[in-house]
Symmetry: C2
Subunit: 180 residues, 2 copies
């Protein structure tokens, strides 16, 4: 197998924001030539597959400014600095949906956009869901509509392009495979 590594010649930080930062790396390619890589650094995130006792998936409708559309997603959120992903998953589930859970199983973790970003999303399955009386609320710049949908509704929402992001489509397939 060919060695594929790209060595860093220089790194230039372009932007450091509230959530993401952007850098441009000059790299040495495996064949000795050079190129540039535009890279987004992100703190990482979690997402939660939460299925109720009556076999509904807990989802939230949320406006996504990047493409100017409200879409329906599984509960998710960014990691705080040094936060344990399971703690973050439990927190985001509570804040966005009002649900607590007795147990969280780590299903997988994936990079969302390996071509330009280091965002790693940790996917959890929430078990033993219960409604929390004193649930923490949303962040002050976060607004969502809470929904609970059947598998059939989820598949319809995919066709209607209301479910339209990678982690939620992954979750729907995971749910389909659970039932097989």
């Amino acid at each position: 197998m060919e060695n594929l590594e790209e060595k860093t010649i220089s790194t230039k930080e372009i932007f450091k924001g509230r959530i993401i930062s952007l850098q441009v790396d000059e790299v040495l390619l495996p064949n000795g030539n050079t190129s540039t890589r535009e890279i987004i650094k992100h703190p990482g995130a979690v997402a939660v597959i939460a299925i109720t006792e009556d076999d509904k998936l807990v989802v939230v409708e949320q406006y996504r400014k990047a493409f100017e559309k409200a879409i329906i997603e599984i509960p998710a959120g960014k990691l705080e600095k040094d936060e344990d992903p399971a703690v973050c998953a439990s927190r985001e589930l509570e804040e966005e949906t009002g649900y607590g859970c007795k147990d969280l199983e780590h299903i997988t973790s994936f990079y969302t956009s390996p071509g330009f970003a280091d965002e790693l999303v940790h996917i959890y399955l929430a078990k033993g869901l219960y409604k929390k009386e004193d649930a923490a609320g949303l962040d002050e710049d976060e607004f969502v509509n809470l929904m609970e949908i059947s598998l059939e509704e989820a598949l319809d929402l995919m066709k209607e392009q209301k479910i339209l992001d990678a982690k939620t489509m992954y979750a729907v397939q995971y749910w389909q495979l659970l039932g097989k």
Copy 2:
């Protein structure tokens, strides 16, 4: 249902690169407050689920500078300006793997990172694979190792964190569901 729209007050372009650009939008939230959104604009991409006659998934190992690791992915690539996604899928399959295909079925499209990016990936299933004698080669800054893997090998590679990105994990689930 609550109206979730965030209206743009102002947009500031921070960076315009070879592949991505970055802007910061000041937005009016549904409750009348303001906030900022850090947004990556991306041309969009395609990815191809290509399964050979002997039931192997065609994948490529590729170095990903954003997180400094070589991972194994389904063939994929960025859309050129005004390029039809199906044409792009056919082109990327040929360049990265040497395979042509008789037909491409559009499976779905998803946003990879709705929180900060407008990257939309179009997923195709390649049908009627054949080896092209005169296949076009890779871009000059692109290096990959070609592999063909069984479903069992794919599941093992996920456990070993060599398959580690959203589109490829989605593809493996899709393949699992095909066989059910």
